[in-house]
């Protein structure tokens, strides 16, 4: 780890000024117009008076973003993990190739011999001919062959950028094939350029799941406490860890959208009594639509962090108003917490007071703050990659969010009560009583309400801003994704990937929390960091001698790192 410097105690006003100064320095590198736009996305937090953030706006061309595209959000994130749908990307080869098993959304076959189509990346691999004369014919052919080879229950088609422009009608092809093959075939117009980020793809995917899957199977699972887990993608086995703790409590999950889930599970998702929402950003549309159409209420939960897990379990139990469930939940919490305590205490002793910064996704930058809080670490800066204002400021601001050209691009489907299946799970009186008792439905208050005053909030952070953050605020660890990871680590700061988990996980529920604490502990304290002196350490006023354990051999880089001369890649001077 970087040598420690005890920070001088800072007065609150000074902290605010310092935060402001950090932002100013980040903005300085941009041309005036860009800086003005960017300034709306860089804020100093105040949980009492939450400032408005310019989230979900287009990344300015030429600014290095971590954001992906609409296609990635639809095919890669929301629909991709449904394991027995055959997924076909309609487009040139790259888009399909790059979304081939890259997200680590794990699946295990239910029965020996079950097909897991996730290992296939099927693409129509468009060629010039299709670009010029249209690709519908090739798509049709690809669907027929896929059906002949695999006989899947359903086939899903995803459009990439060129498709929208050559005017292929993927929906018409899907309808035609559905008729011809007798299985469910549906398509998504999720061309990459359609939205600001992958977030648009989530919305398009939610609509599709709602239109083409949910409600097709009316026979639900027999369970007393039956819920869906929405916005959980089973990265590194997260959904399994949550499922395990829920099962211990006696709570049954019909469908996890979307992690290790089958087509049939999605089709009967409307038979549950409660929707619980993990990642609000990617799936709140579906929760809303299911409530309107089927009368299923939804609540926000978070199983990232031990305290958060306990709180979420209690909330589910409170919803069902069952003494049996409440008692069981308390037992499971007590058991989980007791098992966790030695790890948590040991790690807290080493990590307390250290500073984290999180820049990731549309929910993890918030939910993972809970894990850091569990071990006494403070989040000094956080931001999402593709979230909207409600994920920062809370759902209260929803009515005030302006609809721009990009959001208008995405279909808003009108949902009405299902004449047969609508069945409000709670009477208005029950709902009212619950609310009066402190229970809240659809209650996402956003990231900023839970962050400290004067913490930095940075939406869609760029590399340049990360560099400034490291230089000026010295976080001890940054959570981000693969595109930043190696930049951050080259500067001597550990970076935990929160998209792929650096191939670790699970991090949810009590079991996962222990994993995370230990990993953060190891990352912070591994000796390799002693070989790198972060650049800000070398500034004259900070020429503190690194503190080494005298028993350890003196690491190489204790001496100031030599100024590096790049080797010429072929010599420069004409001979």
């Amino acid at each position: 780890m970087a040598p420690e410097i005890t920070p001088l105690p800072i007065a609150p006003e000074a902290a605010a000024t310092e935060a402001k100064a950090t932002i100013d320095k980040m903005l300085k590198a941009y041309p005036a117009k860009t800086a003005r736009k960017r300034a709306k996305q860089l804020l100093v937090n105040d949980p009492e008076a939450i400032p408005q953030i310019g989230a979900n706006t287009r990344t300015i061309p030429g600014i290095m973003t971590q954001r992906g595209c609409t296609y990635a959000g639809c095919r890669g994130v929301v629909i991709g993990p449904i394991s027995d749908i055959l997924h076909i990307t309609h487009g040139p080869i790259g888009c399909g190739y790059y979304s081939w098993l890259t997200r680590r959304n794990l699946v295990r076959p239910r029965h020996a011999g079950d097909t897991n189509y996730l290992q296939y990346a099927m693409s129509t691999d468009m060629m010039e001919e299709q670009i010029i004369f249209g690709g519908e014919k090739k798509l049709r052919q690809a669907i027929r062959e896929a059906f002949d080879i695999f006989h899947p229950k359903a086939i899903s088609i995803y459009s990439t950028c060129p498709v929208g422009l050559i005017g292929d009608d993927v929906h018409a092809v899907a309808r035609e094939m559905k008729e011809e093959l007798g299985i469910n075939v549906f398509a998504f117009s999720c061309e990459g350029y359609k939205g600001v980020s992958q977030s648009a793809g989530h919305h398009i995917a939610n609509n599709g799941v709602f239109k083409h899957m949910i409600g097709r199977l009316d026979e639900g699972d027999k369970a007393e406490f039956n819920i869906n887990l929405l916005g959980e993608y089973n990265i590194g086995g997260d959904a399994w860890a949550i499922d395990e703790v829920l099962r211990k409590c006696g709570i049954h999950v019909t469908a996890t959208l979307s992690g290790d889930v089958t087509y049939d599970q999605v089709c009967k998702a409307h038979t549950v009594d409660l929707n619980t929402v993990m990642c609000h950003r990617s799936i709140n549309y579906m929760a809303e639509m299911m409530e309107k159409k089927y009368g299923i209420p939804w609540i926000k939960v978070n199983f990232v962090g031990a305290e958060a897990t306990a709180k979420s379990l209690r909330k589910i139990a409170a919803f069902f108003e069952s003494k049996k469930l409440t008692d069981r939940v308390e037992e499971v919490i007590a058991e989980g917490m007791a098992k966790l305590k030695p790890v948590r205490d040991a790690v807290t002793a080493r990590c307390k007071g250290k500073k984290a910064a999180l820049f990731v996704g549309g929910s993890r930058a918030h939910s993972y703050q809970h894990l850091f809080a569990d071990i006494g670490m403070e989040t000094i800066a956080a931001g999402y990659e593709f979230a909207h204002r409600d994920d920062y400021e809370g759902r209260a601001v929803l009515p005030t969010i302006k609809v721009d050209a990009d959001s208008r691009n995405i279909e808003e489907i009108t949902v009405e009560q299902d004449p047969v299946r609508y069945n409000p799970r709670k009477t208005p009186e029950q709902t009212k009583a619950l609310e009066e008792g402190g229970f809240s439905f659809k209650d996402y208050t956003g990231m900023m309400s839970e962050m400290k005053k004067n913490a930095l909030v940075i939406d869609d952070i760029s590399h340049h801003e990360i560099e400034k953050l490291i230089e000026l605020r010295h976080p001890d660890i940054i959570c981000s994704g693969i595109k930043d990871k190696f930049i951050i680590e080259k500067m001597g700061i550990p970076c935990k990937q929160l998209h792929s988990y650096d191939y670790g996980g699970p991090y949810t529920a009590f079991e996962g929390a222990a994993n995370f604490y230990q990993e953060i502990d190891r990352m912070l304290h591994t000796k390799v960091w002693k070989y790198v002196v972060p650049s800000w350490m070398k500034e004259p006023q900070l020429q503190a001698t690194p503190i080494y354990n005298p028993k350890e051999p003196k690491p190489k880089a204790a001496a100031p790192a030599p100024v590096r001369k790049p080797e010429a890649g072929g010599e420069a001077i004409p001979e």
Partner: protein, 462 residues
């Protein structure tokens, strides 16, 4: 059912489904190759003219192989730019990139989107430069890389050509040699530089991402990682005595070497990827000719040790069966080498489709017979279908073959790109006698490991 089989006469013949869709592609997309080349030029930032998704995907793929950061800017098309053209996004993007990175060069590649809408890049460049050019403005070059007509390797070669075409300057002939190595590893690039240095030859190695994509930790923040072919060296490529380009598929490709030959009369010598004995011999012969000097003793010794090792190991590998897959030139080089060791390449497969794979393989392996199948334009699902009856002892290629190796229960020897399930893909040495030695030891040891683990006796001497 519209699935026809490749070979319908003999029942035992390995066969695969001819599918319309590509199932698990054995190729990546064109701009990826271009971006890698551009990051192998000093102070250059790659810039994709299209939507941001392609740039994000390509970055994540390159990063997972190299474990190094790579910034690729984009003009971030919106629906509006997709319909009306991306000229204004381009302009804004380029100025923002220049302001943030202060690059020596902005290198633009198109994507399927900008190609589909038929962006007139010449006009866009012209308009941009007319308005924004000033003394000291970074170089600006461009390459057309639609993925619907080519693979990553085509993007790679096209980008090398674009850089040379834009930057090479004419002048008096020098002793300089241009080296166009193709898409090889960072370790390969370092080795080539060492070889050229040992011959005392001045050179332009293009691209050279041996530092920029396999660098050290930073003592200062590096907006663009240092290293790469100096732009001055590309200028000087126009006065070189000759070009050496690796890759037999380039025979039909408008390559950088060919450009220099046509424009500046610089003789272009095309070699195979120097993998294994004979293809490496050809490289050293070419360097002897260019330098007028004999091969340094160090390399003769390496060659001697390699031959000795082939003898030591032949009993373990003789008649072993291998599936080789990847880019066509890599497959050709590997097959040539495997055959030298006594290993039988039972399938040479590539997702590329230059139309030259079979001819190239026959050039390096005149003795090829029906035991070796050759398929271009193939995908992993088809390779897997063929593999069932080919009974390979191992497969050799990139990480994407892992599922197949697992299914067959045979080792996967990781070479090429992408390698995202092991560390150090960028440090795998393929080229030269030294590279062949490393590959050989890896292959033999993997086979010995199988023998040892599967033996009931548990040999401790092998």
């Amino acid at each position: 059912m519209n699935v026809t089989s490749a070979i319908d006469n003999e029942l035992d013949e390995p066969r695969f489904n001819h599918c319309t869709a590509t199932r698990n592609a054995c190729k990546l997309c064109t701009p990826l190759g271009a971006c890698l080349v551009f990051r192998g030029i000093e102070g250059t930032i790659p810039f994709l003219h299209g939507s941001q998704g392609c740039s994000t995907y390509i970055r994540r793929y390159l990063i997972s192989h190299f474990r190094e950061p790579i910034d690729i800017a984009a003009s971030n098309f919106s629906e509006e730019s997709a319909v009306f053209g991306g000229a204004s996004n381009f302009k804004a993007g380029v100025s923002n990139v220049i302001r943030q990175y202060q690059p020596k060069m902005v290198a633009v590649a198109t994507t399927c989107l900008s190609e589909t809408i038929g962006e007139d890049m010449d006009r866009i460049f012209h308009d941009y430069l007319k308005e924004s050019w000033h003394e000291g403005h970074p170089h600006l070059i461009k390459v057309s890389t639609p993925s619907y007509s080519g693979t990553h390797i085509d993007g790679f070669h096209a980008a090398v050509r674009a850089a040379v075409a834009a930057l090479a300057l004419p002048g008096d002939r020098t002793r300089r040699v241009n080296l166009f190595p193709g898409m090889v590893s960072a370790a390969d690039l370092r080795h080539l530089k060492e070889i050229a240095d040992d011959f005392g030859l001045p050179y332009t190695l293009l691209p050279d991402y041996s530092e920029s994509m396999d660098g050290e930790t930073w003592s200062e923040y590096e907006k663009l990682q240092s290293g790469g072919t100096p732009i001055e060296a590309i200028h000087a490529a126009g006065c070189a005595q000759c070009s050496l380009e690796f890759g037999r598929t380039l025979a039909d490709f408008p390559s950088a070497g060919r450009f220099l030959e046509e424009r500046f009369n610089i003789p272009n010598r095309r070699l195979g990827l120097p993998i294994g004995l004979r293809e490496t011999d050809a490289l050293f012969e070419a360097l002897e000719a260019a330098s007028g000097l004999p091969t340094p003793a160090k390399y003769n010794k390496e060659r001697g040790r390699l031959v000795d090792a082939l003898i030591d190991g032949h009993k373990y590998v003789f008649e072993k069966r291998a599936i080789v897959y990847g880019e066509e030139d890599l497959v050709t080089g590997l097959a040539a080498f495997l055959a030298e060791t006594g290993i039988l390449p039972v399938l040479c497969a590539s997702g590329g489709k230059s139309g030259r794979l079979e001819r190239n393989l026959r050039e390096v392996l005149p003795m090829l017979d029906e035991r070796t199948r050759i398929h271009d334009g193939i995908d992993f699902a088809q390779i897997a279908e063929l593999a069932e009856s080919l009974k390979p002892d191992f497969i050799i290629g990139n990480s994407k073959g892992y599922a197949l190796a697992r299914k067959l229960g045979v080792p996967l020897i990781r070479v090429g790109f992408p390698i995202h399930d092991r560390i150090g893909g960028q440090r795998i040495l393929h080229l030269g006698y030294r590279g062949a030695q490393a590959l050989y030891d890896t292959i033999v040891n993997a086979l010995l490991d199988v023998k040892q683990t599967s033996s009931p006796i548990g040999y401790s001497y092998l």
